[in-house]
Structure formats: C-alpha cells, structure tokens
Point group: C2
Chain length 83, copies 2
C-alpha cells in the first residue's frame, strides 16, 4: 500500500517561497497566475501486512508527529493500493 | 481554478532525503514503513479568465519549464475548481 502525504503551510501563514515563484512566473510572462504556494509531498510505501485501518492510523500519526510542524503547517493524505 | 502540481524524483534517482526520513521513522519505532520518497507540491491559483484547456496547457508548461528539473524529476498535476 502507498500513502501520499501533502504538507502545506496554513492559509494564514506567509509563504515567501511561493511568492518568489509567483514573481518569477510573472516576469517570465506566464499568464493568469494569481497565487502560488509551495508545500511538501511524501510517498510512503507501507508493508502489505498492514490493513487499511492500521495503515491509515500509522500514516496519520507519522504525518502529525514527524512530517508536519503543527504551528504553521497542516497535512492531508490518501492511501492507494500499490502497483 | 486551482492546479495541484506534484514534482517527484524519478524512480531511478536516489532520494537521500527520503532515506533519511525512512531511517528516522524506523528509529522512532514506526511500524511497517518500507520506503519514503520526498517530493515537492505546488498549489497554483489561476485566473478564472482561463478555461480548462488553457489552464491545463499553462500549468503543464509551468510544471515542465520551471518547477521540474527534467534530468532527475518528473511531475503530475490535476486541476480543480477553486472554492
């Protein structure tokens, strides 16, 4: 099983990296870009020994305790059956 | 409209950052983790003046030309109607 975890800055937190990309895209004449925010993306391959409920619990715990700084970031994730 | 862009290292490229996270998770007694790979995640808010086809073309161009290093990375993206 594979988990895809997305960690982003909270909406209320300034994202200077995203703003820099936005500014660069504008200078490079890309059209219609209103905002860019950058986050992190993790792909976690899980043992097949875990069932869906255990995998969900484990990934949620990892995302919350290790991958995310809860002061400024939030996360979401989904599981998929591995290829 | 919002575009979600995921940039990951190609499967054949070593991901030391992901390996470091994997090692840390093992030391912290998390169970059933077989592999971790880290990528980047971008949320791009697009002008409503762009229709779906124009938005797709623009986001694909940005992902290919700016956000991704084609030598070692690959990308995927999807669009969603903004809230």
């Amino acid at each position: 099983m594979k988990a895809h975890v997305y960690v982003t800055l909270k909406q209320t937190v300034l994202d200077p990296q995203g703003q820099a990309i936005h500014g660069a895209l504008k200078k490079m004449q890309y059209q219609g870009i209103e905002d860019v925010r950058q986050g992190k993306y993790f792909v976690i391959r899980l043992s097949d020994a875990l069932d869906a409920a255990a995998a969900t619990a484990e990934v949620e715990r990892i995302a919350k305790e290790v991958l995310t700084n809860p002061v400024i970031e939030e996360f979401s994730f989904h599981l998929e059956d591995a290829d």
